[in-house]
Structures are given as C-alpha cells and as structure tokens.
C-alpha cells in the first residue's frame, strides 16, 4: 500500500491491534449480569476493503485456532483425568455466567421521572392526589360503562364482558349525550368512574377513563380486543368474586398515575377465594390487559387459566379534570416518538 494511504489507516489499525474488539461503549464494570453490547466485527472502521477483508480472515483463522486449541486442552485434561484413575466426566471449570444481550428494555433511554421504591415525595403526592381516597378504602368504586353512539354486536359483547370483570359496574346506552353532560349526571348518581368504549368500523377502538368527581381523565387507544369467544372460553367461567389486580412494569411517574387509575376501577379488597386476577402489564408503552384464574400447585408453581377478554391499551392523553381542564400529558408523536428507545410509562 502506498504510504500516503496507509497513514490515516494506521490510526484505526492501532486500535485493532490491541486485540480487543472495538466497542462503542465502555466495557462493563463489576456487575455479573451486566448486558454487553453487540461487538463490532474485527474489520470495523477500516475503509479499505482489501485490508478489511484481510483483517477479517485473520480473525477468523485465529478464532478457529483458538477453538482447536481449546478442544485440545479439554482432551488433554480428560486424558489426564482418566489416567489418574477417575471414572466419569472430568470436573469442568465453572463457566463465567453468560452475559445478557441487550434488549430494547435494557437500552431504554433513562427517564428522569423513574419511580424509585421509597420515594417520600411520591408517597406524599399519592396520599394527597385524587385517588388517595380510593387507596384509603374510603369508598367502593362504582363504574359507569358506555360506548359511542351506535353500537354493534362485537363491541356490545366486549362491553358486556367488561361488565362481568369489573365489579359494581353498570352499562348505559349512549344516546348522543355529550361527555360533559354524562359526567354531571354520573356524579349525581354516585358513580366514581366512567368508562367509555369508543367504536370504529364495528370494532372497539378507544377507551376513555374518567375518574369522577373532577378526577383525571385518560384516553387510550384500544387494540386487539378479544372476547371470550375468541379465546375459546365461555363467559360462565367468570365468577362474580372480586378480582385481584396486578399492575406490572409501570416505571415512570406517568406510568404510576395510570396504574393507579386502572387499579382504582376494581374493588380495593379482592376475594381471594375466587382466585381471579386482572393484570395490566406495561411493556414499551403498551398496556396489556389479561384476566386469569390462578391455582397454586405448590409454593413454587402457579397455574393460570385465561378467562375473559383481552385487550391492549396505548395512552394518548391524560387530562387533569374530568374531561375538562389542562392536559397533564399528551402524546405528540413527532416529538416523543422520535427515538425507538424512549418510552413514557
């Protein structure tokens, strides 16, 4: 290679010569299970195709040789072991625990609003916010379920199943009333939450949750709704015991708020006899809802049987008042979803 060309390549080669693969992030510290970054190949950074390929080949050969050498070592060990008069396999050196590869969750952009376990400020806020009363068990939730104006069969079925799941819920047909009117009337009749299932093209597609006396309102997009029939179950399996609620994986403050909202739909004291559990599991800003009956086979194993409907929610906005007032959080796609590693719940 002419010298001039090689000059700027030298820098890159130097890095490579150290023998370590070129990594974009600094290597792990002390944690055993710290995930590793996928390693960049041996010729990374070299622009010259010829040199790059050469490097790659060398690395490949070296790898092969290392493998062979390792196998030879093992054979030698085994032989020695056998010679020493032992039977059975030779003792293996304890492997380093395999490091976890990166996942989207591990690469998630760190959020300032992550909730820590013992956060006094959070505890204080939660004790004084609009859901404090529920968590003090001051009242039993009473849920009003409606839909959008024209209902079709599928949405109707979905709603009737929601009614079965959520204890103490009532369904009313929406006859063109506005939400604000509904809120007023519902407050008068003593409801604590309104749940509006919006329909589009004969499928339920929206989930509007309003906590009543002037509580926060949240609108979710509802996707993949499945009624009992779709999961090949019968509704008769759903008993009227009050279910337990599991709220998984809500990490940020916003997530915490949403989790409280969703949890407050159900009665604060579940009937464990019924062994029903409703789960809201958040993964990458999708909230998956599942409804199971569980059975403890032993203290180490649990069996689950899925009953009832299934759907996923995606938060669109969260408003301070009951369909009124400032928006606490709005999904602005272009701003907030520009990175695939950024999640808000």
């Amino acid at each position: 290679m002419p010298k001039g060309v090689g000059r700027w390549l030298n820098d890159v080669e130097e890095e490579g010569e150290e023998g370590e693969p070129v990594e974009t992030k600094p290597s792990e510290d002390d944690e055993e299970m710290d995930p590793i970054f996928p390693v960049m190949g041996p010729g990374y950074g070299i622009k010259n195709k010829f040199l790059k390929r050469k490097k790659f080949k060398e690395a490949k050969v070296a790898k092969m040789q290392a493998k062979i050498e390792k196998a030879r070592e093992r054979f030698r060990e085994k032989k020695a072991w056998r010679k020493a008069g032992n039977t059975g396999p030779p003792p293996t050196v304890k492997k380093e625990p395999t490091k976890l590869p990166h996942t989207i969750e591990s690469l998630r952009e760190p959020d300032l609003t992550y909730v820590e376990k013992d956060d006094d400020e959070l505890a204080f806020e939660e004790a004084t916010d609009k859901y404090a009363k529920y968590y003090e068990k001051a009242y039993e939730p009473k849920v009003l379920i409606t839909s959008s104006y024209k209902l079709t069969g599928r949405t109707m079925a979905f709603i009737s199943e929601l009614r079965l799941i959520i204890p103490n819920s009532e369904f009313f047909f929406r006859r063109g009333t506005t939400v604000k009117k509904m809120v007023l009337k519902a407050v008068d009749r003593g409801f604590t939450d309104i749940l509006v299932i919006n329909e589009d093209r004969r499928w339920p597609n929206g989930f509007l949750l309003i906590h009543l006396p002037d509580g926060p309102a949240a609108y979710f997009r509802l996707t993949n709704p499945r009624i009992c029939k779709d999961i090949r179950r019968t509704r008769s399996e759903i008993t009227s015991h009050r279910p337990e609620v599991i709220l998984n994986n809500f990490k940020t403050r916003l997530g915490q708020m949403i989790a409280r909202m969703l949890g407050a739909l159900f009665h604060y004291e579940p009937e464990f006899k019924g062994r029903r559990v409703c789960t809201f599991h958040n993964q990458r800003d999708f909230i998956f809802f599942r409804h199971h009956r569980y059975e403890f086979e032993s203290s180490k194993r649990v069996n689950l049987r899925e009953l009832g409907p299934r759907f996923t929610l995606r938060l669109q906005w969260l408003q301070d008042g009951a369909f009124d007032g400032d928006y606490e959080w709005v999904l602005k796609r272009h701003e907030m979803e520009s990175s695939r590693r950024r999640f808000h719940l």
């Binding site: 996942t103 969750e105 009333t177 464990f272 199971h292 059975e295 203290s299 180490k300 049987r305």
Partner: protein, 332 residues
C-alpha cells in the same frame, strides 16, 4: 321569447338528468326547469332564500327589469314562522297564486332544515379522523414485539408467587415450606443412593430375598414419612373442580387427578400409594424370583415416590440466579 330560447336552445342554468330537468339558478323557486318557475323567463318573480339562517323574500317586478342591479327587492322575514307566512301573503297579495304557494312551501322547507341543523349541532359530533395506515401498522408491529418481550404469563406467575411469599394469602394456602425443603433434601439423598444401588445391582446378578425385603421396607418407611410431612390442612380451602389447565405442565395428569389433588391435597394419592405398596409388598414376599421383581419394583416404586412432582422423576429445585435468555436483538 326568452323561454323559447332558454328551453330549446341553451340555458346555462339548466341541468338535465334522465327523468327531470333542474334549474341551477339561485333565485329559482322550485329548483326545476319549468316555464312558470324559470327566473329568466318570468320578469315578475318571487323567491324565499336563506342567508346565514335569516330568511328573506326576494321579489322582482317588470318595472325594475331594466335595472339589473336593483332588480330584486329583499324583504327580511320574521323568525316567527306564522308571522313570516303572513308577511309573504302581504307582500305577494296581488301576485299569482302559484308564487304565493310556492313561496310558502319553500319557507316551510327552509325552516325545517334550519331546525334540524340546530338540533344536530347540539348533538354529539363524531370526529372523523384519517386512517393513518403506515402508522397504525407500525404500532401493531411494535405491539406484537412488545407482547413477545413481555412474557405476560411469566410475569403474572412471578407476581402471584411473590404475593404468596409475602403472605397476602395467609390463611388460604398453607404450604409448609420448611418441611417441604427437608423432604426435598431427603428425596435428593434417596435418589443418589438409589442411583448408586442401581449401578451396583447391574454388576451383581444374584440376590437374596432378604435384600429385597429390606429395601422394600426401607422405601416404604421413607414414603410414609414423606406423606406425613406433606399432608396439609385443607379444611379452609374451597373445593372446586377445575377444568384443564392449558398452561400447566401436568400434561400427564388426568383431570380427575387434578381435582383430587385440589380436594384432598396429597392425602388421597398417598392413600392410593399406600394400598398399592402393600399389595406390591405382599406380591414381592410371596413370589420367589428375585431380580425380576426387583426391577419390577424399581420401575413401579420410583415413579410413585416422586408422584408429587409433575414428571416421573425427582425434580430438585435449586435456587439459581435467573439467567434470562432473552431474545437476542440484532443491533443495527
């Protein structure tokens, strides 16, 4: 003359469909292209028109025919329907009956549709939003991947077990943890000893009855101890017949077994085992052949000993740090 031309030759306001002729002129009273309702052909003409919700009566007379800018006389009609009718009658007193009638009809129609519009305004309006195909598809894909990453059932099971551990189901379930662990250890030892014995067996071919008896006795006693440890109080548990658990690993087990397990804990199965053991023992003692029965006993007893576990072998559960074998993401 005008009508002759307009009708036969060309009229820019004329709009013809298969069955009917329409007139697109703004001032047309009926909207149809007919001799008496053509505003071009009739110099004396009247219409009722609505602008921004206000009704006006337009009149044109022959006297003003040559002042096109001032041709139409505009009278504002009252909001009150009855009064408006009267106004029309007053203004079109000496006109042809046709005009009065048509104007009244038009007034009625307009007021009706205005009312309807007002009512609709009060109603809920559905907001029509565009279908963002690309975006919706993207979200769907992301949702599917998130679902795979979520492993919801695992998470739920973990949570439930955690809750069990924390004692939220205190009075309901009673898994005596310590005794269980002790038993597990003993089973473990037993298995090891069994393994060793098996190996030694294979080498020896001839055995005595005494050996058989002793070993059978030993195992019987061990099982007995195990049962006592594992039995637990079911008095508070609700008895339910539960159908197949699809997610359970007990595919070998019958539904009846599952129900039994629920109902009587391990007692019933123990009883079952006891009776079987006794019968087996009797058989063993009575017959003379050694190795055959030995292996037979082996085959029969070892799975029974471990019948409490789902599979046909002893599962010793060690606490290991969770090594998640998560799906490897190709880093682009």
């Amino acid at each position: 003359i005008t009508w002759g031309i307009v009708n036969k030759v060309f009229c820019s306001f004329k709009f013809q469909t298969k069955g009917q002729k329409f007139c697109r002129n703004e001032f047309n009273l009926t909207g149809l292209c007919t001799r008496s309702s053509c505003p071009l052909a009739n110099t004396q003409y009247a219409t009722v028109r609505e602008e921004n919700g206000v009704l006006y009566l337009y009149m044109r007379t022959a006297e003003r025919a040559f002042f096109p800018a001032k041709a139409w006389e505009k009278v504002r009609l009252s909001n009150n329907f009855v009064k408006a009718l009267q106004q029309i009658d007053e203004n079109l007193v000496f006109w042809k009956k046709y005009f009065r009638q048509k104007c009244r009809q038009r007034l009625l129609k307009i007021t009706q549709y205005l009312n309807r519009m007002r009512k609709l305004e009060l109603r809920q309006k559905t907001k029509l939003v565009t279908i963002r195909r690309k975006i919706d598809r993207r979200y769907l894909r992301r949702e599917n991947k998130a679902f795979i990453a979520a492993r919801i059932d695992n998470a739920i099971e973990k949570q439930l077990l955690q809750r069990l551990k924390d004692g939220t189901y205190e009075r309901i379930y009673n898994f005596p943890q310590e005794a269980f662990d002790v038993r597990m250890e003993e089973e473990d030892e037993e298995e090891e000893s069994e393994v060793e014995e098996e190996e030694s067996e294979k080498e020896e071919e001839v055995e005595t009855d005494e050996d058989v008896e002793r070993e059978l006795e030993r195992e019987y006693l061990k099982e007995r101890n195990q049962e006592e440890a594992n039995s637990y109080d079911d008095s508070e548990e609700e008895r339910e017949f539960v159908a197949d658990f699809e997610e359970s690993e007990d595919e070998d087990m019958d539904i009846e077994d599952a129900a039994q397990r629920l109902q009587d804990g391990t007692e019933s199965s123990d009883v079952h085992e006891d009776s079987d053991d006794e019968s087996d023992m009797e058989d063993g003692l009575s017959s003379s052949s050694t190795k055959k029965i030995r292996t037979h006993k082996r085959a029969k007893i070892s799975p029974k000993v471990t019948k409490k576990r789902a599979k046909a072998h002893v599962e010793v559960e060690y606490e290991t740090p969770e090594v998640e074998t998560a799906k490897v993401k190709v880093f682009s």
